[in-house]
């Protein structure tokens, strides 16, 4: 069965190296050079720690997508009251005419539908 994945995926990061600037960019966090240095070391330590898993024999463990045991927690297709718009917009930094007002969007939208 063909289970081709949506594009835009990357393999799991190797713990050898971590590009802190890249990760920061994805998370929209501005880091100073000092921070890049500091967090790079910390993240590398973390990944080394996680790498300990590679030492274990996991032949008898099946792949797990979820740590919780529940399955099929679903709801019927029935409406429920939502939030009042005034309440919603009162929490936004800016609004206009019933819309959220956000800073201008610079980048072209990626894979959003």
């Amino acid at each position: 069965m063909n289970t081709r994945l949506p594009h835009g995926s990357i393999p799991i990061l190797s713990s050898e190296k971590i590009d802190v600037r890249y990760v920061a960019k994805l998370a929209r966090i501005a880091l100073t050079d000092d921070e890049v240095e500091r967090f790079g070391t910390q993240l590398a330590d973390l990944l080394t720690h996680v790498d300990a898993l590679a030492q274990l024999d996991i032949a008898s463990v099946s792949a797990t997508a979820q740590v919780i045991e529940s399955r099929n927690v679903l709801r019927d297709d029935l409406p429920r009251p939502g939030l009042d718009r005034d309440v919603v917009l009162a929490q936004a930094p800016a609004s206009q005419g019933g819309f959220f007002r956000v800073p201008r969007i610079i980048a072209v939208k990626g894979e959003a539908s």
Binding site: R28, Q66, V67, N72, R75, L83, G98, R104
Partner: protein, 492 residues
Amino acid sequence: MSGTTGAAAAGYEAVIGIECHVELKTQTKMFCGCLNEFGGEPNTKVCPVCLGLPGALPVPNLRAIEHMIRSGLAFEAAIPAFSKFDRKNYFYPDMPKDYQISQYDMPLTQGGVVRYWLEDGTIKECRLVRIHLEEDTGKSTHAGSGDGRIAGSAYSLVDFNRAGVPLMECVSEPDIRSAEEAVAFLEALKRTFVQLGVSDVKMEEGSLRCDANVSIRPIGAHELGTKTEIKNMNSFRSVQRAIDSEIARQVALVTSGGRVIQETRGWDEVHATTHSMRSKEEAHDYRYFPDPDLPPLEVSENTVGWLRVELPESVIRRFTRYTGEYGLNVQQATQLIDNPSLAEYFDACVALSENPAQSVNFVLGDLSRLANETGVAIYASPVVPKHVAELIALLDGKTINSKIAKDLLERMWSGGGSPKAIVEREGLAQTSDPGAVAKFVDQVLAANGDAVAQYRAGKTNVLGFLVGQVMKASGGKADPALVQTMMTQRLA
């Protein structure tokens, strides 16, 4: 010249794959109880879940899951016993959580095939990679630049009414070879989704959005060329034009020594061309991972079995039944299929009359005309299939002619009831008695000496006029075939 014809002339063929997003028709959104409705005042169908407020927990809509499975089954997809939701991470203001709930490596449906037909009736196949379930984003309007476009806008306005609406993404294999096929493929998807009631599939309301991956390769080659992804196609017509234009652009590029670069290109309806949408070349890195808020789904064989049994006859099966078994032409078959209630009505008429040719004439002809004129749908009119079958039997048995049949239909439409009863009550049965018909013929010949002379002088087209006079004299009841024969004999 279409892009495909041009490509073939230059020794190339196009290879096209489609990715389309279809909004599911449910009462409520995918993970919350807010209404799933098009339009309305901005931000009036929102709650903590679809606004992505901290601590809010999504709970999947059972109906949407059923829609997905039924859609997959309609295209013979596999329904895995286990599937799950994943987070697709990226930032965009109309996506409040900064991730979209989607399905990455374990979608609800896998594989499948869409069978569709072209205008000439040729049946084609396009395999599906998968159909997966995700949530729609909100809508943003770019204000301040005057034309609603991103470039130059001062700020953006966001409405989250659409955020969290269930969306299925269908991804096809690159089995499509022309813009015409791409449109026919989309029409087939649309027909099936409408028939299943899983979506309204209105491109103008954005409930169907599609992108096309287009590449070209020398005819006969197996390797795929570099593809571009075409976006911003807002109608079937723009899909056709955009793909044609992109094929032509790639062929012109390659035949003049250039090469296609992999990129996203937007279709510009006004200038009838695609343009590169690359801003900064930024690789997408969505860091998919299983959504910890959503337990996985297990779909039992039993559930799949039930949903499969309840599926209606597939659209392509209906098409082959109509064009094959019933001998309808492609246009008639398509017209019926595109109007499911009309098709049901037609099927009922055929079941009772066993005469598909006459049934389709009445359903798509006089009955459709009456429906248009009166604004009443055929199935809601007093004319029931049983009466249509009776009418066909009266015609087949030559009890009435087609002129009387037409009149009868009008009377049935206004509540006349059984055509057989009307015919008996009002003595409308066709006169096939040679003696009676001969009387009318002789009468007309005697009264139209000029026409008779003209006919004998070689102007044989007055025959129609003379036959018409006989029909008139008989009150429309004479058997027209008999009149014609008798008249020709007398004039010889």
